[in-house]
Symmetry: C2
Amino acid sequence: MPKKITIYDIAKEAGVSAATVSRAITGRGYVSEKNKILILSLVDKYNFRPNTFARNLKTGYTKMIGFIVPHIGNMYFANVYYEFEKWASSYGYMTILLNSKGDYEVESNLLKALIEKHVDGIVMMGGRIDASNLPEDYIKEINEIRKQIPFVACGAKTERFNCSGIYTDDEKGVEELLVYLKNRGYQRITLIGGGDEFIPSYIKKQKAISIAEKLGLDVSVRWLTGNEVFSNRAGYEGMKILLKENPRPEVVCGINDYVAMGAIKAVMEAGLNIPMDIAITGFDDVSIATMTPVQITTVSPRYEYFGKKVFGSLHKMIKNKTDNHSKMTLIKPELVIRNSTR
Amino acid sequence: MPKKITIYDIAKEAGVSAATVSRAITGRGYVSEKNKILILSLVDKYNFRPNTFARNLKTGYTKMIGFIVPHIGNMYFANVYYEFEKWASSYGYMTILLNSKGDYEVESNLLKALIEKHVDGIVMMGGRIDASNLPEDYIKEINEIRKQIPFVACGAKTERFNCSGIYTDDEKGVEELLVYLKNRGYQRITLIGGGDEFIPSYIKKQKAISIAEKLGLDVSVRWLTGNEVFSNRAGYEGMKILLKENPRPEVVCGINDYVAMGAIKAVMEAGLNIPMDIAITGFDDVSIATMTPVQITTVSPRYEYFGKKVFGSLHKMIKNKTDNHSKMTLIKPELVIRNSTR
């Protein structure tokens, strides 16, 4: 095969910048008449088509991927995105990152916009993917989209969407955490943060209750209400209530590390010692879990592997033009023991 | 003007999904022969061109923006991106978010890829933008790009690039912080984290020294060495060294909140009280600054306003097809007083 002509080859031969070549071709922005004629004659000579158009018209690919998260300021999503984007870039894909605030209507608008852009595939996290009581229309929308375009949902079980899903094995994570806590001699354990309306929370709760029975542990679940059940503040307020109870739990497991950090703050303000007076654990292993005076025992989704799997799964569908109907990939999480438990 | 025909109008009239229309047009993926003929006849009838092509060929716009950061897992960049993307989306732009790791060569590759994608504009943060001793080639590259395509650098002073720049007024931030500390009765102050090779650190250091002289404060600067001078670990290690000194500083100012958090951890491990035994401050006001047992007094870049300004500045250049040659916009930062200072 002859070497593929790039915009840089044209630019070099014409003695102009790549951007000038681009402008001459798209007709956008100023190019001198002399350069325009020169460039367009070279374009003809080499039958050169700029990538964006060429891919669209010839191969049908845009080499673009859409990635929707609720809020990139949440380190869980930022970590998955970072690892995903590393792989996407290395395969020549550019990823559009959109924030949905977890709002279903915003998600619909963003999905439409991505389809209009002819992205080669879409990854979606949070929002409707994790919602327990999702109106039928929002399920159907994903069902339609995943038939038309490679689509990967990640974070929660996604059978109802009939799409490919990559998610952390939360049941395994809860089991490992509780077995570890039992082995360390803990008995009274309370889960805080989250809510039944979020599938990952619900899965963790159900598993915690069933494992507790098996292991003979005293496990209770105190979900929080309001809009920010996964926040630091939720953990702080939830912990303040628990501290007034008698007997107090021996371990408080935050539904994520933000909630765990909030709980730690409340415990320290009460003048108690972690882990001697009370132990705290989290989920997700975001970087802050090691930045606090007390480092948090947590369950890691193994971001590097996770992000690689998400890209790999999407890329396979793009390349093979297949629809991996309801293919679920479970990522085994990893228990990370630090000093918030004794 | 007649209503612009969209892919949804074609889909509705053909009784198929928008994605099916897209596949019929691009020739990518399966469409039944019957539907293909129907769709393509409607495309002809309405002279419909899908957006991606239409915008490229007719208006010259792709409605795409490229945004390069070193690492989206750093909350400073994630916060700016979130606010920026909110505005970009609301104006119909899709933003490609790329991680450069702050590596100049990676940045060059990403810039080339974005230009090949014909993005309407580029925003760049960190990496070469903040570098003090940047090889001439990397300066020239930006200089060339900003002539061809709307380009905004943000975070540091950018005169040498001759491009538009949006940055926090770090001098003002340092001044407000030191005046506040003096008013609270502090005298011996040490800056840690950062390094002269980063322009924002250098600016902060120079300003701290000159303000100290004016206010009669005893200010010293202890930069760190190594690759991660802005990290939690850097703050932790740096603080451990300072704690051995006699006399100890009364206030340790981290170059950012990550460094401040690391310093807090070292102080608490040493059994000292913040702010009674030693005060700590940060910069950037990332969310973790309020999540720790000790909440960090810090300097906020006012993300909402910052992100809006970055988008506004880029959008103006895109709309007017102008090059805001070296237009610098300084954002006045805000001192946020919390309980890590008395």
